[in-house]
Amino acid sequence: MTVLRPDLAIIADHVAPGASVLDVGCGDGALMAALRDQRGVDARGLEIDAANVAAAVARGLPVVQGDADVELAGYPDASVDYAILSQTLQTCRAPDRVLDELLRIGRHAFVSFPNFAHWRVRLSLLWGGRMPVTRLLPERWYDTPNIHHVSVDDFRAFLRDRGVRVEDAWFLAGDRRRGAAAANLLAEHAVFLLRRC
């Protein structure tokens, strides 16, 4: 049993047993497999990379190859208990629309993303004057898939503007959980549990 990435472990711990899930940007299906095997979850996936899809399907997981920016429109309203978007929001062309779709398809939505306002990122820009290359943001400016960088406070403001309710939130630094205090500065990674008001 492989160890789940810390943000995925948080999500896995908070999905109700036996629930239904759509994992958007599911990668090779690590979270889906854990949810299926440990919590009896009916997990479906959407993933853009063919090699990842092949790996997930070869694990017996129902995963569809497709682009979250395009393919979510075909899923019915409130068709799963949880729609999950882990480490994918910042790669979407239209993250606002993808989030709308997530909250339409799922009765709840998990969203996790790397916090672009973490102090290391700020220092890199402030002192180095260079686009940050960190452990969670390892790509350089020209080859990064992350085209919509977002901070914890950006995301909170965005949710407020759109009337999305935050049911819970978790923050990670150095792969460890930390409190919500000063999360915008101190958290490397955020996980939000959301639902439409």
Binding site: R44, A50, V53, V57, A58, R59, P62, V64, G66, P76
Partner: protein, 371 residues
């Protein structure tokens, strides 16, 4: 089990039916040529039906009796393969309308004692599927673990859960479509017209004389082009000349690709009946799963609980990825568990039969997930 004459290679059965056809009318009796591999489990829950393509046959994993060539899908079916007779009871039947032993235009019309020819009723993909269901009844298989096929076999695979929602637990549909497009129909019509323009076709009543080999060969040549990719043809042949140093300034097969196509055409007429080619291409052209279900493809999958696995290939322009994706959208709309991946291959439509290791891995994992 081994003494039961229903099971094994090169089986034939005559079923009373009658089989009610989509085009109206009944077919009775229904002859079906088929093969089985492996043993049906005591719980009868390990049966996999493999569906063949337009010019395929029941010899999925055994040598072809006429050509001696190995089975047509030994990459997928066999020991250590995704469909493994050690685990599965595998059934592959020659489709209705074909010419490898199942009822078709070349078989005898019991009323006249002569070959049916064009008096054979026009059949559909769903008729083929219903004939397969009759065979499964005969074999004592109520529910399939899976139905698996590529190209026209994939059409049957998709038609199975739509026609018998509770008789199939999983569907693997590769390089296929839920309906024939205008372009698909157009290519088939070229082939049919080539057959019918051959004077030897004689309105389909050529049995006992010379068959319309020239017309059928042209039909096969045209169709064969649609099975390959442009890049694949370029890589294989380019503009290279066939066993000559210069162009002949005549109409011999100067180019290797011409020689190759002529060979494909000639080899085909030795093993296939021209009328069967007309009937089966017609069945494919009539195929539109949405039309059969009130014009909405999702309706076709509303009643089944089967799980689906679809695979397309990036160089397949006959049934391109968009066709598989349309099926996936329909499955999502009714909440069916679906897997879909577009695999990369240089081989075009034919990729489903060729060496694509990812395909084997995907189908293997999918089937194990269902078991």
């Amino acid at each position: 089990m081994s003494t039961d004459q229903r099971f094994g290679l090169d089986r034939r059965v005559t079923l009373t039916g009658p089989l009610a056809l989509d085009g109206g009318g009944m077919l009775s009796p229904v002859e079906i040529a088929y093969e089985t591999y492996g043993a049906l489990s005591p719980a009868r829950d390990n049966a996999i039906l493999v569906c063949h393509a337009l010019t395929g046959d029941q010899h999925v994993a055994s040598p072809h009796p006429r050509t001696g060539k190995p089975g047509w899908w030994t990459r997928m079916v066999g020991a250590g393969r995704p469909i493994d007779p050690a685990r599965h009871f595998v059934v592959c039947a020659n489709v209705l309308g074909s010419c490898m032993g199942s009822s078709g235009p070349a078989s005898l019309d019991p009323a006249s004692g002569r070959p049916w020819g064009m008096a054979f009723p026009v059949i559909t993909i769903r008729d083929m599927v219903r004939a397969q269901a009759l065979l499964l009844d005969h074999l004592g298989v109520e529910t399939l673990l899976a139905v698996v096929g590529g190209s026209m076999g994939g059409m049957q695979a998709l038609s199975w859960p739509a026609t018998f929602p509770h008789r199939v637990r999983a569907c693997v549909a590769i390089a296929t479509t839920a309906r024939h497009t205008a372009q698909n129909i157009a290519f088939h019509e070229v082939g049919r017209q080539a057959v019918m323009a051959d004077p030897r076709w004689a309105g389909g009543a050529y049995y006992g004389g010379e068959p319309p080999a020239a017309g059928l060969a042209v039909a096969r040549m045209a169709a064969h082009i649609t099975y390959l990719s442009e890049a694949g043809l370029t890589e294989k042949f380019g503009r290279r000349l066939q066993a000559r140093g210069a162009k002949s300034f005549g109409f011999d097969a100067d180019f290797q690709v011409e020689s190759y196509l002529r060979h494909q055409g000639l080899a085909f007429v030795d093993r296939f009946d021209a009328n069967a080619y007309l009937y089966i291409t017609r069945a494919m052209d009539y195929f539109d799963l949405a039309e059969e279900h009130g014009g909405r493809l999702a309706n076709a999958f509303a009643d089944t609980t089967a799980r689906f696995c679809l695979v397309s290939f990036d160089t397949d322009w006959l049934y391109p990825t968009a066709e598989s994706r349309a099926v996936v959208h329909a499955l999502n709309a009714v909440g069916r568990a679906a897997s879909f991946v577009e695999l990369s291959s240089p081989y075009g439509h034919d990729a489903f039969l060729l060496d694509v290791p990812e395909l084997i891995r995907v189908v293997d994992g999918f089937l194990r997930g269902v078991e």
